[in-house]
Amino acid sequence: MTKLIQTLIIGLEYGCVYSLIAMGMVLVYRTTGVLNIAHGGIGVLAGFIAWDLNTLRGWPYFPAIGAGILVAVVAGLLFERFVVRKLAAPALATVATLALFLLLQGLVFVVPWWGNTWGQVFNSPFANRQVAIPGADYSVSWDQLILFGNVLAFMALLYFVLRRTRVGLAMRAVSDDPTAARLMGIRQKLVAPVVWGLAFGLSGLTTMLLAPILLLDNTSLTAFTLKALTVTFVGGLISLPLTVAGAMLLSMLDVSTQLYMPNAKGLSDAWPFIILIVVLVARFARGTKALEDTAVAPA
């Protein structure tokens, strides 16, 4: 029983992390046609800024993480204005996000006092608080609960924004048919900054939620991003609900393999590739054309 609860909680925890990262990438891809490879890198930058303000400069925790997320949002707006908008094709903008990823990965080494040769401890004010699970010899930390709560809140917020607001309607219109959206008077120049700011801010938020549970370093966050990238494949880089489902599936399979089959060496790490194969086979079996043919046309 304890093992099952442990599997569910850890699986849910990592599923939430993959979901947050993957949703950010899908959001950008759906509306702009750009695959944001820099997603993890922005999170690392925001995380280190917050850690710097909180640990080295003595800022209170919440203003520090707020500042980190704000920097990420501003970076998103600037990147959209001065890079993405100047590039003609989405594929070229994807390459630009890759360059930004490298730049941000290196930035952590360039700032001497960040010293990213090892992970930095970035505890939240709830570091040692835990909630015991009734009927099981297991407890959940407050940080984990905050992570779950934030993911649920973000999903609800995203649903509300996309379904109930004019900005969300514009984003969906641009995503479905950019040409028709333009003819209807929707200005892509106003929608795109919102999307980029939101996605970069989401990346910052993910790091803030993850850092108290893991250490703050650029390799583990990058590894999460790369794994989340394969999750986006489940939803074809289009569907947000399918992406979340894929993230949960991957993390549950990963965690249960580690807990129930410790001798199956490497299987837990092979799941992203196995899921990818299954998705492809399922699409072929359904007679779906190449994945990109079903994708929305980028703006």
């Binding site: 891809y29 695959l35 490879i37 890079v83 100047k86 590039l87 003609a88 094709a89 989405p90 594929a91 070229l92 994807t94 390459v95 630009a96 890759l98 360059a99 930004l100 990823f101 490298l102 730049l103 941000l104 990965q105 290196g106 930035l107 952590v108 080494f109 360039v110 990213n116 390799t219 990058t222 590894a223 790369l226 794994k227 990238l229 394969t230 986006t232 494949f233 880089l237 060496k265 490497g266 299987l267 790490d269 092979a270 992203p272 590739f273 990818l276 492809l280 072929f284 190449a290 994945l291 990109e292 046309a297």
Partner: protein, 378 residues
Amino acid sequence: MSTVMERRAPSELSPEKAPAGPKRSLINRRSVLRTLGLLALTTFVLTMPFDMNWAGSSFALDYGVIIGMIVLSVSVLGWIGEFTLAVVAQMGFGLVVVNLLQNAGMPFLVIIPVVILSSIPISILLGVFALRLRGVYFAIATLAFGYMAQKTFFQSYLGVQGGFGGTDSKAISRPAGFQGSESFYYLLMGSLLLMAVICWAVKRSWIGTSLTALRESEAAFSVLGHSPGAYKLFTICLSGAIATVAGAYFGMLQGLVPSNYFQPALAVLYFGFAVAGGMGSVGGAVVAGVAFGAIPKYFDSLSEGKLVGYDQFFIGVVALAVVLWAPGGFADIGRRIWRRLEGSGPPPATVSTFEIDVRDPAAAAAAAGTAERDGADV
């Protein structure tokens, strides 16, 4: 009419065969410049290990040449408009194969052909994805493959020690006669140049022309009776063979390589190098790979380890600048400088491989211009 033609001077009949004064001087200038350039390049390549002694050991240069091979393998896929993140995994397989063959007592001259052959099954596996997926979808598939290879195969066999035998692992050795860093450099450089010449010849041949056509419009290419699958597989196999040989040489350079080295994120870095060099360009990839591979190592040596990790930041800045202001990369910048030196007029506007979007007629039209220029690229 024919009588009139017979009376004309040969230069009037065929201007190409008998060029006029200014054109003849241009050709002379061009051939002189080319000869001088070739001489300078040959001298530079031959003396590089000794010229760079002040900055550090030739190990940095050896490393740079191997990175040049890897970047070339990434760049080759640009011919079909794709990018791969499995290149590090392919390197790892090359390293494993060379380890196995050396343990079996095979000589170097047998090892390299076997390494090339061993790359084919992996390339075909990736090719299966390439037949159904394009663009970012193919990149994600290769990323998942690279991640799985690193976490399963390499972690099991190479582990933290970098060999099959755990703490008793036998290091991969360099071939006889190439034990020193300087002598090994000549072997590596010779191999890199051979790869570059092969790639250049392929690109200049009818295969290269067909690949350009395929990249511009797969549908039109199929309608004309060609098989996109065969051409894609060929390109992926060529790219895979280069990456696998690079991995074998990397094993020889390092001796033991732990599995941690083969992280898929490293493939992103190499892709950044290829973008900076000019995706799809042979010369640009070689220059960018060697420069970005060797220079950080020399900086590490000169700064006594204080500048470790700065290279990623530097590469990021360069790659971003290239994407924004020179989408053709170093190859295009070099071509522009060369044309100015030759005095053959301003070059046409640059269009990156990644700007070709079949859904956008303007980009497709611009791509046609790229195809013409690519033919003259080295």
